[in-house]
Every structure is written in C-alpha cells, then in structure tokens.
Symmetry: C2
Subunit: 237 residues, 2 copies
C-alpha cells in the first residue's frame, strides 16, 4: 500500500543516485589513508570516480558535510562492531561482555586506523562537529554503562569495597550523572569513566605508534591490561 510520498516503485534514477552517493563516501573514506582528514579533497574523490569535480556537488553539499558523514560512519562502524561482539555473550557474563566490547574496539581501530584517528585523534582544525555526531559517538559508552548497571543488579555494590568520591569530584561528574542509572554509585561511575578513558588511551597509544619499541605483541598486552582494568572495575576477582 504505497503512500503518496513514497511510491512503491523506486525510479532507476533514485537507485543510481543512492549508489553513487555511497561510492563517493566510500572513496572519501579510503582517501583518508592518504592525507588524513585535513587532506580530504572533493576533487580527488571526483577524479577517482572518473567524474568532473563539480559533479560531486549533486550528491554532497560541501567538503565539510562529507567530513561529517565520514565521522558519523566511523562512530557507527565502531559502535556496531562493539555491539555485534557483545551481543553474543550471555547477559550474566559481565566480564565476558566487557572483554568482548574492549577487544572489538581495539580490533576495529587496528583494522581502520585512519577512521579511528578521524574521531579519536587530533580535532580537525577549522572543523566543528555538528550535533548529529553525538548519537553515534555514544554507542560504545552505552554498552559499557549497561554492563555497569547489570553489575549493580548482580550485587556489585555489596561485593565491592567502596572508594570514597570527594565532593569536588562528585560535582565534576555531574554532567554525566544522568546517563547512569541511579543505582550506579559515584564510585562505580568514576571507575566506569576510568575504564572508558583507559580503553581509548590504550588503543590510541597503539594506533598512533606510541608503543613502538615498547610493546611487541599488542593483542597480548591489551588483553592483560584490560583484565587488570576489569579487576579495578570489580568484574574480576
């Protein structure tokens, strides 16, 4: 039952348009490897696709808009990878879920270093990320928050000796307090933020080359450091 706005038969033109738009974004994504975000060029994308540079403006309104799409796609791809890994673990295996999430993040980042750099590296000069990037950016944190919430439900608070959180720190984390269920204590919230910080700190160090001549086997060291972080979180005894 086709509505007036959405005809049942999608015209060939529309299909081709969607496909070409995808090709443009994917070509741009591949070109990130050459010159990074700052070097992203509509003309280079057009050239690779065999079209004249002005033609891409039929599909993408500007260079900055293309960059925004790439950022959103990177966050989404990373989030999807983490979700796909986590969903396969039994809900009550909190340590398993944590390990699945963090391994997926590292795996994706190592496999897509330039897209990772786009979102977790230096901010692109002169570019201001619009609101649309917020949602995709929170997919990984949302997974971690869910693990913490389930830990509380499973008796985390009774099992773990609390570390006190000073008033100044409680005030400092006020903006994010609302993103956590109220049962998550300030102590656990801080541990969660630290695990999040550590995860991306470790991945960034590896992807950006700061572990060259320091750590040989990135995966082995990552598993070990993350096990220690899981202990800090109280997911592992």
């Amino acid at each position: 039952m086709p509505s007036v706005e959405q005809p049942a038969h999608v015209s060939a033109r529309t299909r081709v348009r969607a496909e070409l738009t995808r090709e443009i974004v994917e070509t741009a994504r591949r070109q990130l490897a050459v010159g990074g975000a700052a070097g992203l060029s509509l003309r280079a994308v057009a050239r690779e696709l065999g079209m004249v540079s002005s033609a891409v403006y039929r599909y993408v309104p500007s260079r900055d808009d293309l960059l925004t799409r790439l950022i959103i796609e990177a966050y989404d791809a990373l989030g999807a990878a983490a979700e796909a890994a986590e969903v396969g673990v039994p809900r009550d295996d909190l340590l398993g879920r944590f390990r699945a999430i963090t391994r997926a993040v590292r795996g994706w980042a190592v496999a897509h270093p330039h897209e990772y750099a786009l979102v977790y590296g230096s901010p692109v000069p002169g570019y201001r990320a619009p609101e649309d990037t917020i949602g995709p950016a929170t997919r990984v944190p949302a997974l971690l928050i869910a693990v913490l919430a389930d830990a509380v439900a499973a008796g985390w608070t009774e099992r773990t000796p609390a570390v006190s959180v000073p008033k100044a720190v409680r005030r400092a984390i006020a903006p994010v307090r609302g993103s956590f269920p109220p049962q998550v204590t300030d102590d656990l919230l801080v541990r969660g933020l630290m695990a999040w910080t550590y995860l991306f700190g470790a991945v960034s160090f590896e992807v950006f080359g700061h572990r060259h001549n320091v750590v040989d086997d990135g995966a082995a060291f990552f598993d070990h450091e993350m096990a220690r972080i899981a202990t800090m979180l109280g997911l592992l005894t």
Copy 2:
C-alpha cells in the same frame, strides 16, 4: 680560550641568524593553532615575518624539517615542564613526585593544546618522524621510571601483593624491559606502563574534547583519577 672552530667574538650576522631562526620556529608554532600540522605553511610563516617566501629557506631547509623541529620542541617543552615540577619534591615523597609529574603534563597540555596534538594526536599523514625525536619523547617516561625504581628501593616489592604476569605478556614487553632497572618486577613494569598509558589517555580525552558534557571540572577529576592510578601503582595506600 677560544678554539679554532668557535671564535670568541660571535659576529652580528651569526647572532641575527640565530634570532631569526627562532622567530621562524616560533611563528610556525603559533600557526599550528590555525591549521594544525597538516596546514603548516612556510609561505604563511614568511608572510607573517614580512619576508619573501624563498627567504626562509636560508634558515630552514624544508617544511618537513620545520615540522620536525616543532615536534622536538614540543616534547622538550613538555619534558622540561614535568622535570621542573618534579625536581621540587623531596626524593622520598614518591606520591608527591608522581603527582607533580602528572599534573605538569596535564597543565602543559591544556595550556598548549595544539603542540600537544602535534605529538600525541593523529600521526601527520605523509610525515615520518626522524630519530632525533626519540630522546625528547622519553623525558616524561624517564621521570616515571625513576619513581618506580625508587619505589622498589623503598621496599615496594615487599609491601605490594604481586599480580602475576603471563608469559605472553612478559614476551610482549621485552622491548622495554631494558629501560627499567632489573629490580623493577614485571608486575611493576606493567603497572608503570598502564599508569603512563592512563596519564596520556586522560589528558588526550580532555584536550581533544571527549570529556565535553561528561566532566565539568577537568582539574578536580584529573587529581582524583590520578590518585586512583597512584593507588594501583602502590604509591598510595
């Protein structure tokens, strides 16, 4: 007693040359804020100094060389800030030294975000850092290693319950094993690497904007998270 190579009287030309070279490097450093490393331009530097673009080649052999100087200077400035803060703390106050180092790193990074991004952000595409950057890059790690070594001398190993380090991890950290005194156990070495990773992970998150709408008072939260890391290190009970 002037040697043959180094005459006692330094010619005006030589002095002016050194001064202008400094001005070029400092102008370039300031311009990092505008376009980042990828946008660094010899022509823009020349323009700001009121000279013709070809003239800067009397002082700097190429754009990449200028970039290398900026990277070295950034590492050196960060290292100097950390050293200056740490040297004022009594040698036996290990926690105080750790806190001084980490606060200095954060303070410098927050005050110089673009220089920080130059060395700890995304690698500059198409640029390969030469060997000369290694020394300056290790000044902060060297301070941290010294704290760990002194901790061992002060009885750390007897005081702290050891966490076992799997064989694969011991192999993974082989490259850096030689940078630590042999008294530093593998367990402590791993903790040290993790503290180092966490320090720059936290600073990068803050400087690169990933704590927007998450943490309000960066300094207060940083002090708290670093206190917890100090506990993990066994510097604080």
